[in-house]
Symmetry: C3
């Protein structure tokens, strides 16, 4: 608040510096309190998305693998907590550092500082585990549990933090908040992470699913696709609504501060930008849901709720990059296209016999990529100025901003895809080589809950069932499963 006192002192007249300082300090206290309150509760909302992912995944897999998928979601959060604390946050935001990777604040050393408080760490952690949550969907129902543990730690501890450093840390090589002109004199505008979070998670999942191949029975001998339906649409809907709820922390929360003003004393400030972000997010999702509803109705003949849910999430994944810099009407376009992107990605996936139980790669990868391009087309000059002040403004192509932003964004997509393929692709490849990736056919037929997780998730008919379970339990316990997990 140095500026504050500097401004106020002369106004208060001679030798009022002390008074000015005193008043300005109290103002800075207030805004710290407000901003931290805002950021912390946003972080809590983003965390609640983890429940959303867990339910979405659980509902989309078959009952016999429910325990397995839910366990991975719980562990994404738990492992993420430790690894992101130990070095993830340091790799991502430890400054001063080079453009590629951060190298301070390991285990939160010298945090809080003037630039980062604990709330920033918590918020970024919630983002990191979201990325891991995305991937776990793509490789569901056929992946060994140890490989989950391995990729999840690697993704949240290293791969994701590095990407977020590039685009979000002040000294990332492609960051929009970078001072010196770089990447076509325009940084990348990936406000809440269509690329940094969704494309990363999606591409990682893509490689995992591709390398281990489709689930048994997903494509019959004649090669026709057979729907292996999830066991509970209710859980899918719960998950979708929780994700929607959490997205209000994900997108508007990415401002980190709400108390900054544009013109002091004016009703239009950062708080309005935050509100606008929530509105664009809502509109994109709603449009995508409706588009999917009617699109699917014409393609398949029914009104399918799980497809609508996925369409909705596709719209969110797409708007995430540009949510803060586009007009509400543009968000509607974003959602409309996102729905079609998702539908065609799914068609394509079927053609190439790619099996992703949650459509995660298509949804987060495909729609995320569209979102990045969309931002480069529709970012409005006024909003870019406000949200990314003090740098040469590059805005949307269709808004008359020229192609530099678009170029930068295409670079972003390529770079992310490349980096994730190199790191995660290799990881999955070696896991596969060492027979750690895919479970045995018997396990897959029987379901992992029974063979690895100590029994089925549901026991609705007590008397008989619970007895049967009970014996199974004890049987399993008596011969502990082989060390090969």
């Amino acid at each position: 608040m140095a500026t504050c006192s500097a401004d106020l002192a002369p106004l208060l007249g001679p030798n009022a510096t002390a008074a000015a300082d005193y008043i300005c300090n109290k103002f800075s206290d207030t805004s710290f309190a407000v901003d931290n309150t805002y950021l912390l509760f946003s972080a809590y909302l983003v965390f609640s998305m983890q429940l959303g992912f867990a339910m979405l995944c659980a509902g989309s897999v078959r009952a016999k693998n429910t325990m397995n998928i839910m366990l991975t979601n719980v562990l994404d959060a738990a492992i993420g907590g430790l690894f992101y604390y130990l070095f993830g946050f340091a790799f991502a935001f430890g400054s001063p550092s080079n453009g590629f990777i951060g190298r301070h604040h390991f285990a939160l050393r010298s945090v809080p500082s003037s630039s980062f408080d604990y709330s920033n760490f918590l918020y970024q952690w919630a983002f990191a585990i979201a990325a891991a949550g995305i991937t776990s969907g793509s490789i569901a129902e056929r992946t060994q549990f140890v490989s989950y543990l391995i990729y999840s730690s690697f993704l949240t501890g290293f791969v994701y933090p590095v990407v977020s450093h590039w685009f979000w840390a002040t000294d990332g090589w492609a960051s929009a908040s970078r001072a010196d002109d770089f990447l076509f004199g325009s940084g990348v505008i990936d406000f809440a992470g269509s690329g940094v979070v969704h494309v990363v998670g999606g591409v990682a999942g893509l490689w995992g699913a591709l390398i281990e191949g489709p689930r048994i029975g997903r494509f019959d001998h004649s090669g026709r696709s057979v729907a292996l339906r999830g066991h509970s649409a209710t859980l899918v809907v719960i998950g979708t609504f929780m994700l929607w709820f959490g997205w209000y922390g994900f997108n508007p929360g990415s401002f980190n501060k709400i108390s900054s003003f544009y013109t002091s004393g004016n009703y239009y400030g950062q708080w309005s930008a935050v509100g606008r972000t929530a509105v664009t997010t809502t509109l994109a999702g709603c449009t995508a849901a409706l588009t999917t509803l009617f699109g699917k109705r014409f393609l398949t003949g029914h009104w399918n709720v799980t497809d609508v849910c996925n369409g909705l999430l596709g719209g969110f994944a797409a708007i995430t990059a540009g949510c803060s810099v586009v007009e509400p009407w543009a968000a509607i376009i974003c959602g409309f296209v996102a729905a079609w992107v998702l539908i065609s990605c799914n068609k394509l996936a079927e053609k190439v016999k790619f099996d992703d139980p949650l459509e995660a790669a298509q949804l987060h990868g495909g729609c995320g990529a569209w979102g990045i391009i969309f931002t480069a087309l529709f970012a409005s000059e006024k909003y870019v100025r406000e949200v990314y002040p003090s740098r040469p403004v590059r805005y949307g192509l269709f808004m008359g901003g020229g192609g530099r932003l678009l170029a930068a964004h295409i670079i972003q997509i390529l770079v992310i895809v490349g980096w994730v393929s190199v790191t995660m692709g290799t990881l999955f490849y070696f896991l596969h080589k060492f027979g750690l990736l895919r479970i045995s056919a018997d396990d897959e037929m029987a379901g992992m809950d029974l063979t690895r997780h100590g029994g089925l998730a549901y026991v609705y008919h007590d008397e008989d069932e619970s007895q049967k379970q009970g014996t199974q339990m004890r049987k399993i316990e008596s011969h502990p499963s082989p060390p090969s997990v």
Copy 2:
């Protein structure tokens, strides 16, 4: 904050104007930030009620219609988002306008303004979809899907916004914020919408359910009522708790601002009123739940959790109108009566063979109406003065405030019932005439999930089931359903 500078300048002495302005604008920044944070997070909470409605509905219908009802809840939010953005908000709050309907801010044009920010839109949208959510419950399990799409758009896009304009917009003909003496020199006090939201939703549902008649098997040939139980009490409880959680955004959030003071520097300000509102809400719901518990125990002989949940919600629906202007002890009376009202309405509904799978009409219509009356009886003078300043305070009849407020509240009920019957009643009537309202008998027996939504919601026994479903899926796909949805 001009008043602020006006007050402060003289105090700061000669040529203190500049300083005063500077300080005051920083104060206004701070309160904008706080108020928007408060309003946005309240809006998120209200949105989370949509998950509550979805689960409450899903749990209260039979398994064979789960996909259908959940889809409608997702779409209430989605269609609501688009329609409320395009004209709903304009009809409701577009000012300056006449007393009947607003006519500015279509598609959020010239928002943010000094009177409305994006956060206000988001908050009002969450209210609008809540109303639609209520109605979807009454006509569950037997309504064609297109009918949902039509009524939902109409309700959130026109019917509800008009009502909210009347009672909440500054220039609504019956608004309590209206300055000129109207409606017995007292406006209507419907703080968070027992009338505007709950009666509207309830009456709309009443007409829908009434016109299409009860579900097959709900009343046997001898006319005795047969309970068609919902398929999962767990989902009902889940939904109820989410609604309770969201109601803390619904009622206290309706203040829109939290930083206003009553006496500057005093610990008692609007923030206390907000807290009190949360307390009255809690007490009303809790009392209603306990009353229902014991009454039902006496009437039916068991302790029924779903009834208790409905009683709880009835208490909330009732207190919503007066939550900010009644004392906590009055809230207990409110909840107690609300529970009895609900039980009475249900008995009545059975007598007249009216079938509402979620008791939505009885709950939101009946208890909502009681809530409006309750406010006319128990509104306290002191609190009315604080919450609705700058107008002749008309308060509760039993608190010695005379009958003017009470009369106004009665008018409100009549007007709302009339308007909704005229609009939604007619709509449902014509849908019925054109055979778009009710599904065919076969569909109803088989369940809509199988015939319209591409398969059942649950597949617990994979091997067989999922195969069977798989086949059904493909069968259905091969003969796309008739265009008549």
Copy 3:
């Protein structure tokens, strides 16, 4: 804010007292607004834990008792609301009072005051019902419904408030905020209630479960333990995530205020302490979850999700006492030990044939006790100074703070265990004596839902089932169940 004006007035120069007052009043308004916003939303989060408890309990019992357990969770909140309003809050925080029990503010008389606003009541209520929620788990599946009503009212209305008075009220005999030197010149540091909430709830459950004995079939004639598995792991995971979500209100929220500064104008203030608390909470839970995962893997041979969930919650219960005064690295130790504490408590429980369907006594009692000791070992001097200013600082033994705090904390555990045993133990004993505690063997075999709550919770196969249900319903209705509930 008197101090504020006192400081500011001289700075503003002669006869500027009025100006100083004016400015300082507006500052106090702002911080009231911020703090109440913060506290209210924290209270809402804590309330959402009630949904967590409900789902956790529902998923951990057999399908035939789901309605019963969920009803108790709804009623914990409802009964708690009334009783805590009527006298719970008064017993806990009604001051001035003696060290044992409060005696003002019955039914919120003279609230808001300068020390308590409505938001404080709401927040404390959410804590009280959490304690009751814990106990309901221990005695699940075999307890008569009336005894639930009785113990729940007694616990939230009297037992818990008294304990919270001792340790949290300014004039509690062992409170850390107490001015005069007492209890080794160091009060007890139980920041968010490992002792006050978790040990209380756990010990109460311990006595209930101990007195009524294990469920039929839990230990077979040869005395071997037979796992009676819960009917839905999905619900357990939902519950766990909701509890995790709510814990961010429980621990960081216990600061009550976020706008207090340590050095005005500095980025490091109470908001940082709040953030740190959220971080320690997260790390403790994550570590405990991972420890349990691997520990259980070696002990039983599978990766068990429900165990991991319980481990996670154990970590949270443990860190609750010290969350605000320990370093993040210490939280990791806390979680690691907590996991082993829980595992061994469970082993012990099996040995002594103690049956607790939710491991609530082990989890909240055992880990809670460990958390209290942990705080006494690792509380850091710096943080204790900041969080508990203006009193002789006693901090952790291992941090070089000497043994006084440890001694005080051991006293705390003993006192709480003693008090709860005397009150709740006696209550359960007499309920048992009068045959009000345990249900009949037939009820237990058939399941309480059918015999007491009007039918099963789930009806997945409509046609047949719902008919059967229907008839059962009507049968039950025709012969109302015996008055002995």
